[in-house]
């Protein structure tokens, strides 16, 4: 970012702001709680800045100037007189935080560290060794090594206790710190000291870091030619992963009788990815449109024309109150176009679009810049997507929402644990179906396609 080093006064909103970044690169849909979003690709930075200046008619108003002076005065007073010395940066982060929280629940401020973490999460890959870890009885434990990654090849196993990372004890280390130590540049080495049942003493594993894809898609099949795809979020590689699984299913399942798209507890992600995922299932027409205060924020997204012969057949989409934003775009488009039968419970109801706006010191704003609407012009905001058939899910474990609230309020973004790693081609068992009434119902519907309600609508 190139900002002339001038005194701050000259940078008051004056219409002369030479800013190189920010405009509308990246629209993203934001999840609540565990956030997944995305920074703009840097290539989009080179937008016509003169256009931007023209679009900023604001003149330095004396009122705005006076208000900023009050802020400056407050900062100076706190710096001089607060009982503990504070750096101006700490204070300003608090102030920006305060400004942003007066906006809406989905707008937020990210410190440089939080912003970097977000970029990693939304890029769909990071550099590390490929294990999912959690704190179990206070000790750092491997949940599972991801197949094909350096950790997997080195022989790390689920249940292994990580006693030390690069010689540093993991006692009193929180998950975030541990993740930070295990990750690092591609090609560099990390030493994990592992304790495992059967070891007489902890053993060192030296592992070379690689680029690890974060999987947002997993798949299974159900007896009788039914495919099952679960999206955990909408991030950079989601559409590609989805395409890969659909292709494999078409080869493996003959006949390919139907598909279940599971969007439950999918908090959303990138708007662009929601459009691409919808595009995989629709022949033509409008997917979603957005409306904001400025014309740049109002856009319409259509299905891309192309080879549409090979679309999967009948579809059931599973949603619940944890399905938000991008998930609701997909479910809304498929529902409005009568492409899929929606099963589950009413979705979360987050119908707004957030844009990530990096600030000059590496921190960033996540601002609600537009509302989105399903093809039939319905806003999802607060209403959510209502399923065609309501099927309740079993009670959620106690304490979960407390956790959510904590994470939200602290702005923590701990990555969700991965889903159990069974090979995709292994059919879902009757026992697994028994534990999941919504999924079970989806299978029944596909086996007796079309559902009555849909058949009636067709007439």
């Amino acid at each position: 970012m190139i900002l002339p080093k001038k005194r701050w006064r000259s940078l008051l909103p004056s219409g002369k702001l030479a800013r190189s970044a920010t405009y509308l690169w990246l629209i993203l849909i934001l999840c609540w709680g565990l956030s997944l979003g995305l920074s703009a690709p840097s290539t989009a930075d080179t937008r016509d800045t003169s256009m931007q200046m023209a679009a900023m008619p604001e003149v330095a108003s004396p009122a705005a100037d006076a208000k900023l002076r009050v802020l400056a005065q407050a900062l100076a007073l706190v710096e001089e007189q607060y009982v503990e010395p504070k750096t101006p940066k700490d204070l300003i982060y608090g102030a920006i935080q305060g400004a942003v929280t007066t906006l809406d629940t989905h707008s937020s401020f990210m410190t440089p560290e939080e912003y970097r973490e977000l970029q990693i999460e939304t890029k769909g890959k990071f550099s590390g060794i490929g294990i999912e870890i959690s704190l179990k009885d206070r000790s750092l434990t491997v949940v599972s090594p991801i197949e094909g990654t350096p950790a997997y090849r080195a022989g790390i196993q689920a249940g292994d206790q990580i006693v030390k990372i690069n010689g540093a004890s993991t006692k009193n280390m929180n998950l975030n710190e541990a993740v930070k130590m295990i990750r690092g540049p591609k090609g560099s080495k990390v030493t994990l000291t592992i304790n495992r049942e059967g070891f007489t003493q902890p053993k060192d594993f030296v592992i070379v870091r690689e680029t690890i894809p974060i999987r947002s898609v997993r798949a299974r099949i159900v007896e009788g030619g039914i495919g099952y795809v679960r999206l955990a979020s909408f991030q950079d590689l989601t559409d590609q992963d989805l395409q890969g699984f659909l292709k494999k299913m078409k080869q493996r399942l003959t006949p390919f009788k139907g598909l279940i798209l599971d969007l439950r507890n999918d908090p959303g992600g990138l708007l662009e990815q929601a459009v691409r995922v919808s595009n995989e299932f629709l022949k033509s027409g409008l997917i979603v449109y957005t409306e904001g205060r400025s014309p740049q924020q109002s856009m319409r997204f259509y299905v891309q024309p192309g080879d549409k012969e090979d679309l999967p057949g009948p579809m059931v989409v599973l949603i619940n109150e944890g399905s938000a934003s991008a998930s609701e775009i997909v479910a809304g488009a498929l529902k409005d176009q009568k492409r899929a039968y929606i099963v589950g419970t009413k979705s979360f109801g987050k119908g707004s679009v957030q844009t990530i706006i990096p600030l000059e010191d590496g921190s960033a704003l996540r601002l609600t810049t537009a509302l989105f609407y399903t093809p039939s012009g319905i806003t999802i905001q607060e209403k959510g997507i209502v399923p065609d058939e309501v099927v309740q899910e079993p009670e959620i474990p106690a304490g979960k929402s407390v956790q959510k609230l904590r994470e939200e309020s602290l702005g923590k973004k701990l990555r969700k644990e991965g889903i159990t790693d069974k090979p995709w081609s292994q059919p879902i068992t009757a026992e697994e179906l028994g534990q999941d009434p919504q999924l079970k119902r989806a299978v029944e519907i596909l086996r007796n396609w079309p559902p009555k309600k849909m058949a009636q609508q067709a007439k």
Binding site: V70, Q81, Y82, V402
Partner: protein, 445 residues
Amino acid sequence: MAAGDGAGPLSPHCRELQSLLRRRVSQVKPYRIKSSLTCRAWLLYPLLPVLLAFFLAAAWVNPAAAAPASNYEALRLITEALHEISQKFVYKKSEEEMIYGSLRGLMNSLDPDSSFLTSQEYQQVLSGQKTPLAEAGMELIVKDNLLTVVSALDNGPAWRAGLRPGDHILKINGHLVRNQTTQEGNRRFQGKAGTVINLQVLRNGQVKPLDLSVILESVAPGAVTNKILKESYAYVRIPYFTQETAPTLAKTLKELQRHRPPLRGIVLDLRNNARGTLEQAVRAASPFLGDKEVVSTRGRPPEPNQVYHGRAKEDVFKPNLPLVVLVDGGTARAAEALAGALHDQSQAVLLGAKTVGLCGLTKMLPLEDGSALVMTVAQCFTPSGQKIHGKGLEPEVAGQTPAPAVTGAPPPGNPPPEDDPWVNQALEILKTGKTPKKAEKAETR
């Protein structure tokens, strides 16, 4: 202590004027507040305009122009952020709203006692804040951006509505609580008697928020109560600190002193007590400690350090009776200061759970547009030099009750003292004269 939270009718002026005076006086000689701590601010009322003018003048010569150079960078950043918001946020927001939001955020990031006052609110404070007609009888702070109940007055409106220390208030009358300062949060629960306020409350460990309704009423100052337990041990409860607390406590203790057979020890219950000023704590300590040091405050230079002492003539028990003080996660401010003093100066044993850690002096600083900051300028230390503010006091004996079971119903009200497990634990300590210090401490870890 929070200024202007209705803790004491004198507090806001009192503190500001005190601090103003302190500044001037301290240049002449070290200013030591001794014994009489009732702030005689009313004497200074005629001087108020003069003092204020002095203060405002000081503020005028020190606006942005005098800000340290390191501030420019920070200001540039927030200017950039505010500009982006004004241009791109989906709804239009006024400049004042954004700046005031920033100021709230700035003060909230410091500590729960630091707050921001809009010019209207500041005017109200200056024009002589009246004791609210009616209130909910609880103390709230903003912690991790959540409006949290620190304590609820025994059987007060909030307590009867089912609110308990540690509860987070998510919604007030259907509106999400966001970016509120501690002051604003508390003010929401003051108003006309009979006003019904509907709350959505999240209790730790519970999944579903609770819907509770609290009805404001004029709350009688929490009375000091006592009870003689078996074998001549006394139980004394201070629910909240007010101006009345110290005199009633002194009276109660004098009566207890006359008890026959003579008392063998006292259990002082300071649990769930977060209201009161430092002055009130100091006065309440006198019957126990005479003119010994109660608490000291240390500020950032040039803010002077101060040592607060009680009054010798108010001392009731000579020699001191064995004392166990009950504290918990709802013990804050005056109660913390008193607990710390009794522990350090009277060998009182602290029993229960860790206290909140809210004990500072705040000062009001006007800004050039008529709004004002409420800012912590000094922190409390116990006589042995332990910092209370931000840390809390760790009792040497942990209360043995397991945490109340997680149920939908609010925890039951206070049991009578003889059925209270912590009181019984305290009696055990008084009887045996032994503090199971080491062992208990290990257990709490």
